[in-house]
């Protein structure tokens, strides 16, 4: 079994501590690295940062993104066609010089291919955390141990299907925050609020003291506001990626709308 979370305080921990002090909820924004291209990707990340995101999830494009819906799939495919890699994702992270901590959002395979020093190199590029969509708790103790003893916060995921005992197990093996998948399915904008979120957050609260950020299907200011009343943070992905397809200004506008709604 992987060791428990690191106790050294990280940028992610500090961000949540500061938010707690100000009694604010987190806005977590996702963008795919290298989309719509490398240069504009950096501009969009800055727009997200300046617009008021507290944590920035930087998606590492993967050829077979089984947890993603059409928008993030298409953005990943486009970024790969333009030559995006994990190495270049780190270059983007480093060049963007963001205020908000960066969490890599990746599938396991590109991270394995990155070699044994990839976590140290990511940290050196200014990355604070990592989240892997396809490495559930207990699935690979050697690799989980490697990730949790490394320099990055290791963010684990909880699903609506996760039993409460397993929630506690997951939280014990993660750090930074717990990513709560707010509904069954893949990433992507939905028009409805996630069902049963109040109950799931309640169960998760009883299982951990880590901050809880909920994502998957949150795309509008209204949904983000609703989620913020339950969880410590809202994660918005596909809607921001769609905005990035238009312009950095669109990312900026959407981020500000989300920020205002969450803070209101």
């Amino acid at each position: 079994m992987a060791s428990t979370s690191t106790t050294i305080s990280s940028n992610v921990d500090e961000t949540f501590a500061a938010l707690r002090q100000k009694k604010k909820r987190a806005l977590v924004g996702y963008l795919t690295a290298g989309f719509p291209d490398a240069a504009r990707s950096i501009e969009c990340l800055r727009a997200l940062d300046e617009g008021g995101a507290d944590i920035i999830e930087l998606g590492v494009p993967f050829s077979d993104p089984i947890a993603d819906g059409p928008v993030i799939q298409a953005s990943s495919q486009r970024a790969l066609e333009l030559g995006m890699t994990l190495e270049r994702t780190l270059e983007i992270a480093s060049a963007a010089k963001l205020r908000a901590p960066i969490v890599l959002f990746s599938y396991l395979n590109p991270v394995i291919a990155g070699g044994p020093d990839i976590l140290e190199r990511a940290a050196a590029a200014g990355v604070s955390g990592i989240l892997l969509t396809d490495l559930p708790v207990g699935s690979d103790s050697a690799r989980e141990e490697w990730l949790s003893s490394g320099p990055l916060s290791f963010i684990r995921l909880v699903a609506p299907t996760t039993p409460v005992e397993r929630m506690a197990e997951i939280a014990r093996h993660g750090s930074g925050f717990v990513y709560l998948i707010s509904r069954l399915g893949v990433t992507g904008a939905r028009t409805t609020a996630p069902e049963g979120l109040t109950e799931t957050v309640g169960r998760l609260r009883s299982a951990t003291k880590l901050p809880i950020c909920a994502g998957f299907g949150i795309s509008t200011a209204e949904q983000a506001k609703h989620v913020s009343q339950l969880a410590d943070g809202s994660v918005v992905g596909s809607a921001l990626v769609s905005a990035a397809a238009v312009s950095p200004e669109s990312v900026s506008r959407l981020t500000q709308e989300l920020r205002t709604a969450i803070d209101s």
């Binding site: 050829s63 077979d64 993104p65 991270v111 291919a113 559930p136 690979d140 699903a159």
Partner: protein, 394 residues
């Protein structure tokens, strides 16, 4: 705590899936073991295999091919199963399990369309709702099977992402499952995917090897020197290999698709040219680039056109228990013609790889050696493609 780390073959296999699926995989794992320990379930499965699928499938001797090869060649005739391939052995088992678990909506992926047809077939038989994901490229290559699936009442969903082939259809089926995990059962078509699928599909397919073993003893009075099967995801191969794994003198040979050549970059030889990596929930040999992106496979046969392979094959390879070889597109076409003309059996293009390898390696055997080949399917589905390739019937 779930037993996520069970279900490995050496270091290979595992459950590299989104968290949402973990409880469903735990449930499936337990339900499968329970079902297999239940006499009623097994009797129902055996009954369907006998009276619906048409098992046991014959073991044919192959006098003219034997003469050419210079060994006693035996053909395990999975092409004679209902729907024309081995795939139905697995779909009957999994559909029974789905019904037992109360899941009435079935999801499947398909490449050549054989697994899709076998799934649609058993869903019709059981009155289950059936959705099959199929890459646009494969829909074009395997029109006949698309028509068959629709005729059987299945919904065929074209997949337009990525390479528009089996790998993307599999990803899309997984996405559907993550979304509808409460009421849906995913019938995976090969010994791939997260645990317990590789073990479960192997167990349902190992009827091939169990029958073949006793048929060999009965007919030839001995075990084969070599067992040969084509390897896409690896289910017909695992099915025929599994009962022979403990018979150390029996050579196990898996034939991958060399496509346009093993060094062309356009092949599907995951075990011979891939590196261990994670795709569709399992760690196994995988065609990938140095950045960990999955490299598209190529094979003339849609059923072998997959960049990954079942984790148990990776284990059998690394442990040296099985040998993996490859046959090109062109040689597979020759293999197809050879079996057609010498034995009056038109094999599937996938199977043709196994035939071609045996023909190309005649010097391995002496006249008394028995060679057992798994004829995984029949070639009817490939006839339209063969005519467009300009393969003359003469």
């Amino acid at each position: 705590m779930s037993t996520v780390e069970a279900g490995r073959f050496g270091v290979f296999g595992g459950r590299y899936v989104p968290e949402t699926l973990i409880p469903a995989l735990d449930e499936l794992d337990a339900a499968f073991d329970e079902a297999m320990a239940d006499e009623t379930f097994r009797a129902e499965l055996d009954g369907l295999l006998e009276n619906y699928v048409g098992r046991p499938s014959p073991l044919s001797d192959a006098p003219r091919l034997s003469k050419r090869v210079g060994a006693q060649v035996y053909l395990k005739r999975e092409d004679l199963n209902h729907t024309g391939a081995h795939k139905i052995n697995n779909t009957v088992g999994q559909a029974l399990l789905a019904r037992r678990m109360g899941k009435l909506r079935i999801i499947a992926e398909t490449g050549a369309g054989q697994h899709g047809v076998a799934t649609a077939t058993i869903c019709a038989r059981f009155g289950l709702d059936c959705t099959v994901y199929m890459g646009e490229e494969d829909i074009r290559r395997q029109e006949l099977n698309v028509y068959r699936m629709k005729l059987l009442g299945a919904k065929v969903v074209p997949v337009t992402s990525g390479t528009r082939t089996l790998k993307d259809a599999t990803s899309e089926a997984i996405r559907d499952w993550v979304t509808n995990v409460g009421d849906s059962y995913y019938i995976i078509g090969s010994v791939v995917g997260p645990a317990p699928y590789p073990r479960m599909v192997r167990d349902f397919q190992s009827i091939i090897g169990r029958e073949a073993k006793s048929q060999m003893m009965e007919r030839a009075g001995r075990l084969p020197k070599t067992v040969v099967a084509c390897v896409g995801g690896g289910s017909n191969a695992m099915g025929i290999f599994h009962p022979f794994v403990e018979d150390r003198d029996v050579e196990l040979v898996g034939v991958e698709a060399a496509g346009r050549g093993l060094d062309s970059g356009e092949h599907a030889a995951s075990l011979q040219r891939g590196e261990p990596g994670v795709l569709h929930g399992a760690l196994s040999y995988l065609l990938q680039d140095e950045d960990g992106q999955v490299h598209p496979a190529h094979s003339i046969s849609a059923g072998l056109d997959y960049p990954g392979v079942g984790p148990e094959h990776s284990f059998l390879k690394d442990s040296g228990r099985a040998e993996y070889v490859a046959i090109s597109d062109d040689d597979a076409l020759k293999g197809l013609q050879l079996l057609s003309r010498l034995e009056g059996i038109i094999p599937a293009l996938e199977t043709a790889h196994a035939i071609a390898w045996v023909d190309a390696n005649r010097e391995r055997w002496s006249p008394d050696d028995a060679v057992l080949i798994c004829v995984s399917g029949r070639g009817d589905k490939d006839v339209a493609q063969l005519t467009t390739l300009g393969l003359t019937a003469q």
